[in-house]
């Protein structure tokens, strides 16, 4: 039996009168890359924000690495957050800090007694692995969209998380850079043994990076399975149009 690192049951979340998640069930297994697809505003990002305690569910359960997120106290939640890496849609680099300071920020506040040399080695090693060793002293404003995404991923990897959450990793990027980001996502899993959830509406990214797909429609997962199981022969019109738009129209 494969080990579950995330187990979601009957998760519900609404904002005012708008019901976003209506009883979501989902599992993430150790070492797998799970892609969550859905229209804009379908609640994909809400789902992973609940996972790291940025939002609270209205009902249902969300077990991450064996812990029910909504029941954790601040200290316990922070301990869990150290085991989860969150790559934001817009990278969310701290724009008043250099790349080095961006990467130092979570490291020095969470891991004590590191020498300056150790910190520099760790940062340089990660920048090497995302292919941007030269940008260590640059400001985020001097980086391209793709470079920001890479640095954002490197910053989350500095705490060596067990689970990676990617929120729209290829949004707003050109096809070549998208390909590079997809390669990076796969490389992260291999090098750091992470389990990942990739939130996207880019089917190329999904096909390239995901072991399993989960399509979120009307607040619930409509189809879950491998790419071949979910898409090419989809009977649901909405899933079919998703596939057609990505692989025929574009």
């Amino acid at each position: 039996m494969e080990e579950k690192v995330v187990e979601i049951r009957g998760l519900e979340k609404s904002f005012g009168d708008l019901d976003v998640l209506k009883g979501v069930d989902l599992d993430l297994y150790k070492g797998e890359n799970l892609v969550v697809l859905g229209k804009s505003g379908s609640g994909k990002s809400v789902l992973i924000k609940i996972m790291v305690g940025l939002l609270k569910q209205d009902s249902g359960s969300m077990h991450v690495l064996g812990k029910e997120v909504s029941k954790l106290k601040t200290r316990e939640l922070n301990e869990l957050r150290l085991r989860i890496g969150f790559s934001f849609q817009n990278s969310a680099l701290y724009d008043s800090m250099t790349v080095r300071e961006n990467m130092e920020f979570p490291l020095v506040r969470n891991i004590k007694n590191l020498t300056k040399k150790e910190i520099t080695m760790k940062i340089e090693g990660l920048l090497d692995s995302v292919g941007l060793p030269q940008s260590i002293n640059q400001m985020p404003s001097e980086l391209s969209g793709g470079q920001k995404k890479r640095i954002g991923v490197a910053r989350t990897l500095i705490l060596e998380p067990e689970i990676m959450l990617y929120d729209e990793p290829t949004a707003g990027l050109d096809p070549i850079t998208c390909g590079e980001i997809n390669t990076l996502i796969k490389q992260v899993r291999e090098e750091y043994n992470t389990s990942s959830i990739v939130i996207t509406h880019d089917l190329t990214c999904a096909k390239d990076t995901g072991d399993r797909m989960a399509v979120l429609l009307d607040g619930q997962f409509d189809a879950v399975g491998t790419f071949e199981e979910v898409f090419p022969q989809a009977e649901d019109k909405r899933i079919k149009s998703f596939y057609d738009y990505n692989f025929i129209n574009s």
Partner: protein
């Protein structure tokens, strides 16, 4: 947590509910500051950085404004005093006005415009670009790093800026007095120090601490609770200035009443 007042269901009419939930949120924000200010980690490096930004980088504007205020107030007061042949009282009059009210008020209003708006816009922009969420998910405390440091910095630096403004305004005043009444620097400052009391200085410093705290906490609160993208950032910056200025005047009024009561006692 990113859940805000508008996510809750209204109990009374929407506007009244919004007002009271906003008030409760603001109160909780202030309470959270006093709770977290004593909790490690202490971000000394960031506090010093903010002190530099708020204090040193405000000096040119404060210097110019203070100097002009000193000259203008002296020149405006001279005709009235000269009617009674009392222009020799100018240093006393100016020193009392500057130390008791104008120095703290002018400095606080300028700082509310320059510092308050910058804090509101900076934190607001961090909020809408998810930088605050990024801090939170990396198990660091964004409130401690962003809010506590900035509020401490404004609370420390505004009193220093006020003392500096007082000095610069008095120098401006001296320039005008010496040009018209031929008074030496020593005579001018002897008259200044004879006119102001210990209570004036203490109340001015305490008031400035209050103003500094207000500018910092309002700027941070507005920025921390901004929403709706770039429009929200602009609104946060604007609201930070307007709210801080409004509160500064209210506080000035309250402190004046208290000091007058102490003086009468």
């Amino acid at each position: 947590m990113t859940e805000k007042a508008e996510d809750r269901k209204p109990l009374l009419s929407k506007k009244i509910d919004k007002f009271f939930t906003g008030l409760a949120d603001a109160w909780n924000f202030v309470r959270r500051f006093f709770k977290e200010v004593f909790v490690p980690p202490y971000e000394f490096k960031e506090i010093i950085h903010q002190c530099y930004r708020i204090g040193v980088e405000s000096l040119p504007l404060i210097s110019l404004t203070g100097f002009i205020v000193g000259i203008v107030f002296t020149n405006q007061s001279r005709p009235s005093l000269s009617e009674f042949g009392a222009t020799s009282w100018l240093p006393s009059l100016i020193s009392i006005a500057v130390v008791r009210a104008m120095g703290p008020l002018v400095t606080a209003l300028i700082a509310a415009g320059k510092v308050g708006s910058s804090i509101g816009a900076e934190i607001g922009s961090m909020k809408v670009t998810e930088q605050i969420d990024a801090m939170e998910v990396s198990a660091t405390n964004p409130f401690n790093f962003l809010v506590v440091t900035r509020v401490i910095a404004t609370t420390l630096m505004i009193p220093m800026l006020v003392m500096y403004t007082d000095f610069v305004a008095l120098m401006g005043s001296f320039l005008s007095v010496s040009a018209n009444e031929k008074v030496s620097l020593v005579t001018f400052f002897v008259q200044v120090f004879e006119s102001i009391s210990f209570l004036d200085i203490i109340s001015s410093v305490l008031k400035s601490i209050l103003f500094g705290f207000t500018i910092g906490i309002v700027g941070c609160y507005k920025g921390y609770n901004s929403s709706k993208g770039t429009e929200g950032v602009g609104r946060a910056a604007n609201a930070a200035v307007v709210m801080a200025m409004f509160l500064i005047f209210i506080e000035e009024l309250l402190v004046l009443q208290i000091v007058n009561a102490i003086r009468a006692f």
